[in-house]
Amino acid sequence: MFCEKAMELVRELHRAPEGQLPAFNEDGLRQVLEEMKALYEQNQSDVNEAKSGGRSDLIPTIKFRHCSLLRNRRCTVAYLYDRLLRIRALRWEYGSVLPNALRFHMSAEEMEWFNHYKKSLATYMRSLGGDEGLDITQDMKPPKSLYIEVRCLKDYGEFEVDDGTSILLKKNSQHFLPRWKCEQLIRQGVLEHVLS
């Protein structure tokens, strides 16, 4: 049946959980495009025949093929667009450097789009907040406090603070530090936020 492959693409993306980017299904896309090409050529010849030969009984077939072509287009565009939205969310979650595994899941064009997006976002952030710019990708939710209490889960070594001095992070020592400095380490699992 027509449009099966396109449905496959959409289903695959629908099954992937929110925020995850499955690998770029080049094969599937190629098959859909080939199907669309085949349909288009068949339609082309039939239209010529219907016009010249006056065979009006071909018109429903032509209409049917046209509908499948439109459906295929809609599915592929939805697939590509949804992937772009997911890639955009990755920038907000991971920062400007993506982990390698994710990079392999993107096609070359998606990579290029990601770079453009990064550049736009960076230009925008630089234009805010006076000279230094404002990093709006920190603090997705309004923070409750500027400083948080963290506990060190493993020996990390020295860690630099605002005024240039450093803190020695040893196992089981507790620190009270500005929130934004700790977030990276909390994500890595070196520090643990202590809620008291």
Partner: protein, 623 residues
């Protein structure tokens, strides 16, 4: 030097800086630390918290962090030693010390720049006057120099020179004699000052006072101050008088914070914290246990009933029968006892207890109440936190236990508190069982000037008693029970030295010294000095790691009696050591591994080999 205005000279100084907190491993320090943390979080002071269990850890941690911080706060460690000498800090480092250990080392008191003591001066400190201890040597040297210049021979007027020379010689000898007298007086003063160790006001209360001065005190902080004070009382660190006075102070704060509950119309919701004053029974954990278990495992009742003997068990049954409490009810969980029995329980128990010779069954304390289920007495929390701190489980390191205990003090970590309560029950049971076995098998022997008891390695729960606070509690309860068990009147007035195995591979034992049990004891402990001297004279391999100087680690084998003579020679030498030029008392020079700080409980780590010679030395020293 002593800080007079805590807010200006301490808090406002550190408010804009990053500080490092060194916190010792006891419940009072944990409570003080929680209060200070809450204040710092309120004011966004960046701090780092490092738990330390002994001198070695303090020194290592200081070395690691000294490049990064300028301000250090020490809680319950460091007042009784010469900090500058031990830590060797840079010129601009400042230490704030909030410590209950007394006597405060004189160098710490008279150092104006680097050491600030957060200690209230109305505590009975009795610091010797400055001129009695310190003296400029320079003027003496100048005089000596002049004299030597003046004594250069020049033969012009021999008779005049001779009389001048004689005068100068007389002057010199007079000055030297004066100096010797001064030094002898100084030795005596310092010996008297540092002879006994005791404890001052709880650090948690000091911190709460600071919070109150800044009007930033909360009910939670008040509760922590209460727990800190109760910890001092549970471990017998302060006298009964001081405890009652401090309870009075805290009671005023409690009524200030918690008066809304008395008004019928505007009471707070059940989930809010309520702290209230109670005149409650001194049975340990009785509300979380069965009444019977609590009576058997509280040292106060166990000692007076003599529960290690069959006769004692019978007396306990009589006691319960006298109150009319059926045995079945008493043996089940307290919360499931009949309400009719629980209603007047406290008064009933107090009445019957007075009949059986226990007049102080009820004690002034506080309790906290939040939600429908959660009600804790201050002593419950103290026992729970203590057991978490000294948890014998090996899977965590010492600092893991510290973190767990610190967390259990917050209201949101009730599961840890309940875990602590279970551990505390185990510990209390183990303590009473060990005491019973020691008394029944007559392990407590009199060595002459003191009693001695040693736990062998095969004792059940020996791992539990290798930690200082648990061993301390065990020893105190053992002494109390022994006093009730023995008929020998002289033995009742003797102090106790207790040894427990610390580490089987290294062959070390921990030794504790407890002062004698008297009614009016002022909780002063002389064992620190005694241990140090004995250790020095017998050159036992000892480790004085704990902040309490009465804890020592010894190596096990042999101590021969050859050290007896060494001991006597060593004792006179062990007192003062004037350095060149700057006449300063350096305790470090006294014993190789020891400090001359005295602390209330003497705990020491010792190689087991040296144990017997150490004991001999101690016997001769104290007799």
């Amino acid at each position: 030097m002593f800080v007079s205005d805590f807010r200006k000279e301490f808090y406002e100084v550190v408010q804009s800086q990053r500080v490092l907190l060194f916190v010792a491993s006891d419940v009072d320090a944990l409570c003080a630390c929680k209060i200070l943390q809450a204040l710092f979080q309120c004011d966004h002071v960046q701090y780092t918290l490092v738990p330390v269990a002994g001198w070695q850890e303090l020194e290592t941690a200081f070395l690691e962090h000294k490049a990064q911080f300028r301000y250090f706060i020490l809680i319950n460690c460091g007042a009784n030693v010469d900090l500058l000498d031990i830590l060797q800090p840079d010129e601009d480092t400042i230490f704030f010390v909030c410590d209950t250990h007394r006597p405060v080392n004189v160098v710490n008191v008279y150092n104006d720049t680097q050491i600030k003591l957060l200690i209230k001066q109305d505590d009975d400190l009795e610091v010797p006057a400055y001129d009695d201890i310190f003296r400029d040597d320079e003027e003496d040297e100048e005089h000596l120099g002049n004299d030597s210049d003046g004594s250069e021979p020049s033969g012009s007027e021999p008779s005049e020179k001779r009389t001048r020379l004689e005068e100068e010689i007389v002057e010199q000898t007079r000055r030297r004699r004066q100096r010797r007298e001064w030094e002898a007086r100084r030795r005596d003063i310092l010996f008297d000052y540092e002879q006994y160790e005791y404890h001052g006001t709880s650090s948690a209360m000091v911190m709460f006072d600071l919070a109150w001065m800044m009007s930033k005190d909360l009910n939670d902080m008040l509760w922590w101050a209460i727990v800190g004070l109760t910890d001092q009382w549970v471990q017998d660190k302060i006298t009964q008088m001081k405890y009652v006075t401090d309870v009075g102070i805290l009671q005023r704060h409690v009524s200030r914070h918690n008066h809304r509950n008395e008004d019928e119309e505007n009471t707070l919701s059940v989930d809010c914290t309520r702290v209230s004053f109670e005149y409650d029974l001194r049975l340990a954990l009785y509300q979380h246990w069965s009444l019977h278990d609590s009576l058997c495992n509280t040292s106060y009742t166990a000692a007076r009933f003599k529960l290690w003997s069959v006769h004692g068990q019978k007396r306990l049954q009589e006691f319960l029968a006298d109150m009319g409490l059926p045995l079945k009810q008493v043996k089940q969980k307290f919360q499931s006892m009949d309400i009719s029995l629980k209603e007047n329980l406290r008064e009933m128990i107090e009445e019957s207890a007075t009949k059986f010779g226990m007049k102080d069954m009820r004690v002034q304390t506080f309790s906290i109440h939040f939600g429908f289920k959660h009600k804790f007495l201050a002593s419950d929390v103290v026992f729970a936190t203590m057991s978490l701190l000294e948890n014998p489980e090996k899977d965590g390191s010492g600092t893991d236990h510290f973190i767990q205990a610190l967390d259990s003090l917050s209201r949101s970590n009730l599961d840890k508190l309940y875990l602590g309560l279970e551990l505390a029950k185990k510990q209390l049971r183990a303590t009473q069982q060990t005491i019973a076995s020691c008394l029944c098998t007559n392990l407590v022997i009199s060595q002459g000037p003191f009693l001695y008891c040693s736990l062998t390695e095969g004792t059940p729960d020996a791992a539990l008693f290798s930690k200082p606070v648990s061993l301390n509690l065990l020893s105190r309860h053992l002494l109390k029970s022994f006093v009730y068990s023995t008929k020998n009147r002289r033995c009742k007035l003797l102090p106790l030295v207790m040894a427990a195995p610390l580490n089987a591979e290294q062959g070390t034992v921990t030794m504790v010294g407890i002062p004698p049990e008297t009614d009016s004891s002022d909780r002063k402990n002389f064992f620190g000095r005694a241990f140090e001297k004995a250790a020095a004279s017998t050159s036992s391999r000892t480790l004085h790691n704990h902040f309490d100087f009465s804890d020592h680690c010894l190596r096990r084998p042999s101590l021969s009696s050859r050290c007896r003579s060494c001991l006597q020679a060593g004792s006179s030498q062990a007192q003062s050591r004037p350095g060149p030029g700057w006449c300063r008392f350096t305790p470090r020079a006294v014993a190789p591994a020891g400090r001359s700080c005295l602390r209330c409980v003497r705990v020491m780590e010792l190689k087991a080999e040296d144990r017997s010679k150490f004991l001999d030395a101690l016997v001769s020293l104290l007799s």
